[in-house]
Amino acid sequence: MGAFLNVNFIQDLLLSMVRMATPILIVALAELYSERAGLVNIGLDGIMAFGSLVGFLTCYITGDPYLGILAGAIGGVLINMVYAFCTITLGAEQIVYGMAINIFAPAIASFIYKIYFGINSSLITNTLMSAVPIPLLSKIPFLGNILFNHTPIVYFAYLLVPITYVFFNKTKAGLNFKAVGEFPKAAESLGINVIAKKYLASIICGALAGIGGAYLTTCYISTYSDGVVSGRGFIALSAVIFGRWMPGGVLLAALLFGFTDALQLRMQVMSSGTPYQLLAMIPYICTLFVLAFFGIKKAGPKANGKPYFKEER
């Protein structure tokens, strides 16, 4: 028990928390943009899987993890464009199509991996992105290591929070964007191009979700496997709900899940008596409890999930 109170342990734990929260944060913000434009995208898990593969492969071939991240973004956008077209233009049900993406994207990812590396390969490793400590700030005792000694993607993720906040609350474009998810007909009547904004939201969502996936295989683990995403896409979804569709709330939610994830891993190492599966359950159970406790009082953008058609009689 004393091990828990050890400063090094706590520092290590918090450092891990920041790292493990990162993919959830990025993907949750991706979903935030999408839902603010009225599109519920539950295919995040699938986009992440594809992003993680594309990122891994690009990094492996070029040796450059940054290119991997970029590739992940592009890959994510491509996949999400399928979702966007079918839900925005064809009006397919968003939930259903999100599920379709969850089945479709990982299948392609798996396929490409097997084609490139052969069917029975495993444990192909990658060069991971190295941490870029921020000068001066990373020298701060205790906090310096936790907050300022990470790969740039982590910084990017956390910077995205205030950027998103400012976008939605202080800019004209952000206001118009939000209107699309709240009352698209009114927005249209005011000259806002609803369809264009929805596609834009899908591009942002796809890119960020792809980056979130690519992060996993270029900054976090050095191998790719079919289950690398492990449901993080869905945890990101609950982070959006838990965070009440606000960037700050989403950040808190992501940190919470990152914390439970980091904790559970350490507990596995420490108490070798407890079967690891029970510990691995903690993040999921935690998600459930948090959701159950908070419930859903605010249901999110009013026109969320509804298809939008420009009508002529």
Binding site: L175, K185, A186, L190, I192, P301
Partner: protein, 504 residues
Amino acid sequence: MKEILRMEDITKKFGEVYANQDINLTIMEGEVHTLLGENGAGKSTLMNILIGLYQPSKGNIYLKGEKVKIDSPSKAVKLGIGMVHQHFMLVEAMTVFENIILGTSKDKSIFIKKDAIKKGIIDLANKYGLDIEIDKEITEISVGAQQRVEILKALYRGAEVLILDEPTAALTELEVEGLFQIIRKLTAEKKSVIFISHKMREVLEISDQITILRAGKTVTTLKKDDTEASELANLMIGKELVTSEYEKVIETKENIICLEHVDFNAKSKHSGISDITISVGKGEILGIAGVDGNGQSQLAQMVTGVISPDSGTVYLNSKKITKFSPHRFIEASVSHIPEDRNKMGLIGNMSVKENLALKSLETPALSMGKGLFLKKKAITNNAETMKEKYDIRCSSVEQETRNLSGGNQQKIILAREMEENPELLVAVHPTRGLDIGATKYVHDKMIDSRDKGCGVLLISADFDEILKLSDRIAVMFEGKLVGIYSGNNPPIKEISLAMSGKIE
């Protein structure tokens, strides 16, 4: 006065149907011009053309003497045409300020220069006497205030011609006066107002000129001073106004339902009821008059079991109700023609016959073993019989109800609710969106039910309907019951005042 807008020989066809045919409308600068006509006369279509949502099949529009083509809503706004819709286009989760500036960009910055813009808006509001609370969310302000926001939105975008579509539908008498003051200020500043309404009293008060539309065509344009109510009414309908042909019931012996001091969400003025004591007798029609949004929806939901009272008691057939559920009330022979037929009354994706059978699936007539085996043939036959009896126009009883017209959808609900010979019929806006023929049909059937001993609770925003059908008239205002009057030679002036909250 200068001419500011002219619509010349405007024609709009939808398929085979002429929504507008050779319409001529000329608006002068600084005047209030009323567009008068019944539901379906073509007012909405004409206005939709003016704001760029539709393109005319034929005809031209001239703004300040120059021919213009209004091919999109943004173009209309640029040309100085602004519209306040009947159903407001306001984003509820946003503030008044945000709603006003939405979609606009008066300066180059990407950030919203809040303080500067706010000041500009407040100055504009003061100029026209528009009282607004600029930082409140839309959900927090009254309907009248929301309307002022909509007007301000149009003015902020430089509207010279303001179209007000049925602006008084959801306002109290007091708020209507406030609106008229604003309109007078607007015209004093040389703005023109196109006032769309079918309410005679208001039209005669505020208009400078009146154009009457009927069946898609212009009937004539008159100056307000040259005409009066009954002439306008005749021109609007095209025939003599029919006064009520139904006999009124003076007294009833028993009550079917009684409410005593019932509260629900009493604090809310517009979605709650407070200390309501009222009863409906067997064999009478009790009409609830009052502008929509004064608690009528909640009253309807209370007497059909959808919601339960916070305090107070409800007696059905002299028995106190302890458990409120639609099922309980349906079992007690309460039928409901709901406010929103598509959301509350019908399952759009199911067929006509399925919707007709919705409440009687476990009766021995339509199933064996209380629902264990549905008799498909019996269900179909039942539907065919209903179709005949209630004149439901559909290609077959297998057709999905969402493909039927509003009138026929309403007939399905009528058939289903009235065939059971209910003891209490709760009818909310039963003829909303129906044409004259369908309306008369519904009215006849309701009188029929009443004559058979059914108690009818009629809730309608159509004052004429209430006057025509009710044996007694009760008025609701801000959730409270403010008066009960006889439906036989009803004191119209008193009732109108009560509806706007002014009680003697």
